[in-house]
């Protein structure tokens, strides 16, 4: 959503409760107990992003969670649409899939702190963690982290691609054309980046 207009001022609520309604906490608990067993966080985020855009914007935070949970529980075969409609189970849940082996490699970064980079101007249809407002922009590596799984492939269960992740610093001038010394750091996977030439 970075840089979108039209949402008005930030509305704060002093002393707001942790959950606005009891069902919100219960949805959080359902997610906490099923994530990591039946699906992982990238799949969960992707399920939220698959909501029709207008519905996404109109839905509350935990309504998005609930929608993603319903989607994933059906897709993973834990429940059926019919069971969801009636609220009654007609068959037991299958065994959860085996957890993937710990295949995390050591960190072997291509870029170093201070390296100048440019982000790919890519607009994939599926899940990605490169915000639109930094695509095709120039920046510099601030920190080197990970490796973390590339969400673009992991969210679709295509493959497990471990990559270094860099906090890349972008000047507000580069991002928004403003005369300012402020900057934004964004965490980006290595394959989102190319060396500046």
């Amino acid at each position: 959503m970075g840089g979108m207009h039209g949402f008005g001022p930030v509305q704060t609520e002093p002393d707001e409760p942790v959950f606005q309604a009891a069902w919100e906490g219960r949805v959080l608990a359902l997610q906490a107990r099923t994530r990591g067993r039946w699906y992982h966080l990238d799949e969960f985020r992707n399920a939220i992003e698959r909501m029709p855009a207008a519905r996404y914007l109109d839905a509350s935070y935990y309504e998005r969670w609930l929608t993603a949970l319903e989607t994933l529980m059906v897709e993973k075969g834990v429940i059926t649409r019919d069971e969801l409609a009636t609220g009654h189970a007609t068959a037991p849940a299958p065994q959860p899939p085996p957890r993937p082996a710990d295949d995390r490699p050591p960190l072997r970064p291509r870029f170093r702190i201070g390296d100048r980079v440019v982000t790919r101007n890519a607009h994939p249809r599926g899940h990605t963690r490169m915000p639109r407002y930094v695509r095709g922009r120039h920046g510099a590596v601030r920190t080197v982290n990970g490796p973390f799984l590339l969400p673009d492939t992991n969210a679709h269960s295509r493959s497990r691609d471990w990559e270094p992740v860099y906090a890349v610093e972008f000047w507000v001038r580069e991002l928004w054309g403003l005369d300012s010394d402020d900057c934004v750091c964004v965490d980006l996977w290595e394959s989102y980046l190319e060396a500046e030439t």
Binding site: A29, I79, Y133, V184
Partner: protein, 214 residues
């Protein structure tokens, strides 16, 4: 759209007791299915809800900040190995894996947002407030951070640079604010009491009460 929805809202509240809203009914249906299938019990749900309502919150981060203010060696450990440093102070707290702690300086003020969803350092701050998850904050914190900070009552001088952190990966960011003047000799619990959630997100600075200052 808003008007339509508020009419709907009024209608829903005309009669008592209120029937569950559509979304609440869906949540109940999913819960009862997953319970029937043995994936979770009612007690487990209660326990998780209670943990987030009572045990996991900004007091964890505040204790960490207060210790970093009084103990330079702890501060170094916190910046280098955040998860270990948090666990050292809060043995029972959730594991703060992949936490990054960013220190403010006299020249740079840091601010955290997640423009893609609502990534937030739950392990040290608990669940995020509604405004952090709002479209207004997520869209504007990266494009006009100074205006957003003014709405929180924080007007930064031009001499201070703003550094926004958009937490788009597995890392979660927590800000280590600067210790304010006027707190010399304070105990760690006294210091922790002025470190609010908003200070560790970066939309506020720790405030020394006027009575203490004078």
């Amino acid at each position: 759209m808003t008007e339509q929805r508020s009419h709907q809202h009024d209608r829903d509240h005309d009669h008592h007791p209120e029937p569950p809203s559509e979304v609440e009914a869906r949540a109940l249906a999913l819960e009862s299915l997953l319970r029937e299938k043995g994936l979770i019990s009612g007690e487990e749900i209660d326990r998780i809800v209670s943990a987030y309502e009572h045990d996991i919150g900004p007091m964890i981060g505040a204790a960490v900040v207060a210790r970093a203010w009084v103990d330079p060696e702890y501060r170094q450990r916190l910046l280098a190995e955040p998860a270990a440093a948090v666990a050292e102070l809060n043995p029972g707290a959730p594991n703060a894996t992949n936490l990054a702690v960013v220190p403010d300086t006299p020249e740079v003020h840091n601010l955290v947002v997640c423009t893609l969803c609502s990534c937030y350092p739950w392990a040290v701050l608990g669940l995020p407030p509604s405004w952090y998850k709002s479209a207004a904050y997520r869209s504007r914190a990266v494009s006009e951070p100074r205006e957003v900070l003014k709405e929180f009552g924080l007007a930064l001088p031009e001499s201070v640079r703003v550094n926004v952190w958009d937490s788009s990966s597995d890392l979660r960011y927590m800000i280590l604010p600067e210790r304010p003047a006027g707190t010399e000799g304070w105990s760690e619990p006294e210091l922790a009491a002025i470190v609010t959630r908003d200070c560790m997100i970066g939309v506020a600075l720790p405030q020394v009460p006027a009575a203490v200052r004078s």
